[in-house]
Subunit: 238 residues, 2 copies
């Protein structure tokens, strides 16, 4: 989400993956220079593809040339991510492998702030092209997104606070987790206040997190209360 | 939905279709002999496929042999629907047409009651095989189902009343309609009370339906009220 108040990134951690790397928060990866830039990348889709893209992006930060730690804008960061994605897919998805019916595709969300710019947020498609969040469309979802979309559509506006955004995001994940086994706790969250350039402090919400449990219970009870109070119609004409 | 109290069928009517036939309620088709059997078929997917399947099923009711108006059980009705679906797909989806990347698939829900049996409900897959609803899984969805699933999962149980089921179904459609343009009003609904064998009386819920408007507004306001009352967490440590 890209709100007036800042950015909120969140990802679940249900995956068939094996290896996690240091400073890799499962489906959330942070590239930062505190005081100067923070870039957060979320991924969904083919794990081999997403891991390769992240590995290449990170590896290249140590070398010459353009990389996520020296590009001048978030737009360039999204373009670099898209190009790296195309590079990996072109390498892995040749005629021989495509015949096996494997989907090499992956979606990414990349956002953050680079000094000199306002916070920005992009959705990079499997084809490597990308769109940017606006005030009218302040959020993107990738992966198993549909179950949790209605609540976001109802409550999140560009002017929502970061606390509201966090609450809504956790409720949205809770709805998805209840209806679909492919999404699961813990949830990794990164909250970034506009123009703070503070070091990233990701927060991991485990199944036992008291706030998450409170929200989950309160939301479920609240929904059932609202539902029960809504009028019945007599469909059998008395 | 197959509940203790009876069956509830509902379908939206957003489609690229052209032609509607008499006694065809858009994506809802009823086969009945009041006093003896009621069978309701809902469809989603390729329109050419679903129309052909329904046309063949209906046409064959006027002829000799097994058809929906003389099969002895709902299980046989589901099997017949699955076989007709396979027949249509085998006819239309040959090597030449498959190469065009068209998806000929369709999903069906078929349910009802035939005298001598309890009400039953089946989901027929694009492959023609099918599963039956149970007390643990009292409902099926086909088509654009994910947005509206969480509310059903939260409130519908085998013991829910038909009025509750109707209320929940309309709220579920409202959530989907708000988040996805491919689903739209009006909604066709058919409510069947167990063992009534009453003539089908489908109800069409239009955009101006006062009950639907009351539910839609009340649910939206209720959700926002519940959301606002849930506690905020201070993510920045004071």
């Amino acid at each position: 989400m890209r709100l007036k108040a800042g950015l909120l990134f969140a990802s679940d951690s249900r995956t068939n993956a094996g290896v996690d790397h240091i400073s890799t928060f499962r489906k959330m990866n942070v590239f930062e220079q505190p005081g100067e830039r923070l870039i957060c990348v979320l991924n969904a889709g083919n794990l081999a593809t997403t891991q390769s893209v992240i590995s290449l992006l990170r590896q290249r930060c140590a070398h010459e040339g353009r990389h996520l730690l020296n590009v001048a804008s978030l737009y360039e960061a999204a373009e670099l991510l898209g190009r790296t994605l195309k590079e990996v897919v072109a390498r892995d998805a040749n005629d021989a492998t495509l015949g096996q019916g494997v989907d090499f595709g992956a979606n990414f969300i990349i956002g953050g702030q680079i000094r000199g710019e306002a916070p920005r947020l992009f959705h990079v498609y499997p084809q490597g092209n990308f769109i940017e969040a606006t005030e009218d469309t302040p959020y993107f979802q990738i992966g198993e997104s549909k179950y949790g979309k209605p609540i976001i559509d109802r409550v999140i506006r560009h002017g929502s606070s970061l606390n509201e955004a966090t609450k809504c995001t956790l409720i949205s994940f809770d709805s998805t987790i209840r209806s679909n086994l492919s999404v699961g706790l813990p949830i990794d969250m990164l909250i970034y206040r506009s123009d703070s350039f503070a070091p990233a402090a990701p927060h991991r919400v485990e199944a036992t997190d008291p706030y998450f449990l409170k929200l989950s219970r309160g939301w479920g009870e609240g929904l059932r209360r609202v539902f029960a109070k809504l009028p019945d119609e007599d469909w059998f004409g008395g």
